[in-house]
Subunit: 310 residues, 3 copies
């Protein structure tokens, strides 16, 4: 079976069947990372280019490991030390890389839309590893996998997404994916951080997390970017933590089996208190583990792995 799309640019491009196929493949491949020999020959002789034009630890490592565990070769590019610093256009840089016959391009960029631009202009599959404030589809897919693993379903669940909805590509991809899967999504945050066009999505809006926590089956809290303070999107980290942070006090009214998620990196004591991040409801590290599996699945499906995965 194949995906209906050649690239993974936006959750919008994925059909329900695509999503099902990705999760099923990820679940099958996950077991490889737990073996003594964590490697299968599925993508031997494939070349995967990792173009991380924006800083990243976990996403880059996750893709790199995913590729290596399928026996693909990887090449990593960052902005520094590249021809971009000599004034070459991004498109020229990438077309040059394409001329070396890669099988797949993973791209992260601080500008929204760059992965789409590249996909339109080059021949190999492109995976969006995060573009500006637009989308981060592989994060949403690994979040979905984590929810399904923990809750055994997603349809009908009450899922709260808390934080800077306006600037978060993680929020946007998750809203699109979770509503597609018929979860009931509520977004919450300071009014300055709720996008003006939020009405286009099938979500409820709240400005008070205390009102939505009691109903939530899953709470996804987002990373606060400290530089937003200077933009006056919130008065101070301390005040943000008090009104929108997950901590013992705000979590008192939560369900017994609530699941706590965070895409990382975590600002401990701001959007989430250490005792919640490390507590029994947190699946933050499962998200990371599932990230490798989801990316293995996408590389496998897009590169058309022929050899076995046994």
């Amino acid at each position: 079976m194949n995906l209906s799309t050649k690239h993974i640019l936006s959750i919008r491009d994925l059909t329900l069947k695509d999503i099902e196929l990705i999760l099923e493949t990820a679940t099958n491949l996950q077991e490889i990372s737990k073996r003594a020999v964590k490697k299968v020959p599925a993508l031997r002789g494939k070349t995967v280019l990792l173009c991380f034009f924006e800083d990243s630890t976990r996403t880059r490592a996750s893709f790199d490991l995913a590729a290596k565990r399928l026996s693909a070769d990887t090449l990593t590019f960052t902005s520094s030390g590249s021809a971009l610093s000599k004034g070459e256009s991004l498109l020229d840089t990438v077309k040059n890389l394409e001329a070396m016959n890669p099988d797949l391009l993973v791209v992260r960029h601080k500008l929204s839309g760059i992965p789409h631009l590249l996909a339109k202009n080059i021949n190999c599959p492109v995976i969006n590893a995060g573009d500006g404030t637009h989308e981060h589809p592989t994060q949403a897919l690994l979040d979905l996998m984590t929810i399904v693993q923990t809750k055994k379903k997603v349809k009908g669940l009450n899922i709260a997404i808390i934080g800077d909805i306006l600037n978060s590509r993680v929020a946007r991809s998750n809203i699109l994916l979770l509503t597609k899967m018929e979860a009931k999504v509520t977004v919450a945050g300071p009014a300055t951080m709720i996008p003006a066009d939020i009405a286009q999505y099938d979500v409820k809006i709240s400005y008070d997390i205390r009102k939505i926590i009691p109903e939530a089956d899953v709470i996804m809290t987002l990373r606060i970017q400290r530089e937003r303070e200077a933009e006056c999107l919130f008065p101070s980290l301390r005040e943000y933590a008090r009104f929108f942070g997950l901590n013992k006090e705000t979590m008192q009214s939560a369900k017994k089996d609530v699941v706590i998620m965070h895409p990382g990196p975590v600002n401990r004591g701001v959007e989430i208190a250490p005792e919640i991040a490390d507590g029994p409801h947190s699946v933050i590290l499962d998200q990371v583990t599932n990230g490798v599996a989801v990316r293995m699945a996408l590389l496998y499906l897009l590169c058309g792995g022929k050899e076995g995965v046994e």
Copy 2:
């Protein structure tokens, strides 16, 4: 058959038989990069060190991919984050790396002559990946491969090299290689950018590209380094583009089957207009593709690949 030289430092060291062998091997190996499984075991268990003490995207990637497609292991070094920043001499850094038993060293450095210095002092083969304003032999070899692929010959062709001949290692290596292959080479550029010792090479000189374009079978335009403007080698980028840039107007008198080359990265609108760089005569991306093949050939020939390439 073997090369007559242990290192690839300068085009001057290569015999006609060497050049023939390199091109023949590159042509044979090129097909590997087009397979579904782009990998042969020829250099399994070989260690290739990539010492890029000067910024590079495509050359570094090209060598890295070339090595990986032959199953060699690669290790990349850059100036930052290395012992060089602790005041160690370059020779000590490299002798330390040599003590780890690599099979081949690829080196790029902003100082002319560094690859020769290293080759004299260490035991493993060295490939010059560009040294200062001196030479860039693998670029000239991939350019030759591209010309032969397109024109089916090189002997007797009229080849124009346009730009900063004085500071270009690409120009120097190409002049040496193309005249050795009996092409008729003309260099052109502002008088400030033609080296005083140009008479030692068997080339014609022109200061007016309009006079040489009608005769040219191949036009190789060089990257203008913007920092040369400060050195007063040309008055402004705009004026350079007007007098020495390839564009619709200057190309009007060109031959119907002229071939346009550029080593990259391209300054669009300066040495070459976008419609020419992306036009039907341009082989710029073929040069990049052939770069991987030429570097595979050199690694294979210098590391004495024993196992098959099938």
Copy 3:
């Protein structure tokens, strides 16, 4: 046979049997790096994370090559470009990496104790690749291997360690290891660079290298960090070189078969003169070669390599 310890954090944790096993394994594996095919499948499918939060060339390269020659996959992390620069705690960064199922973590950090902190909090084996002014156990092990290779024994040898004993993790690990092996160790340096608690170790102290050189079977000189000049630990590099540097004059009274060692990178003309560093008594480059072997042994023993090393 197995090591008695899961991690390599400090020489203190190693029993005499551990040390014997490491040296024996290293000696067996060393031969691999001299083959035409420098690779065995011992750690195929294992993932080794190289976390170098402090600059390094040779140690990072040494571990990377050691892993690759055993067929393990490696992933390198540095401080720049990582989530650390976004304010994530080191422990969170590493726990995230752990969630990707690595088999071993190599860590270098400018703070003493970081490898211990990580080992306590994560499940996979940790190797200390140098932590602050604390320890650098793999360096001491490769130094021991070099001494045993050259002198055929270590027990009873007079070994002088010269330089900044106070700030040197190399000195500390070597003092612990060499005294454990019953060598007679003398430390020497300016009084400002001898730690106040030196009495806890079983070593002699000297402030005059001319008095100890005639007795020494092995002289290990340490790198002087130029920034210590600003801390007034010594008056000037020139004066340090005159009183504590190894050169023709200070080495006149040395034994005929003295062995000269240095962990690198070398400040030529400061702690060691070029003619001594490059002279017949120097084993500086053997230390580097043995470093790969010792690290191969540690990776092999800690990752529980199952497949053959033939």
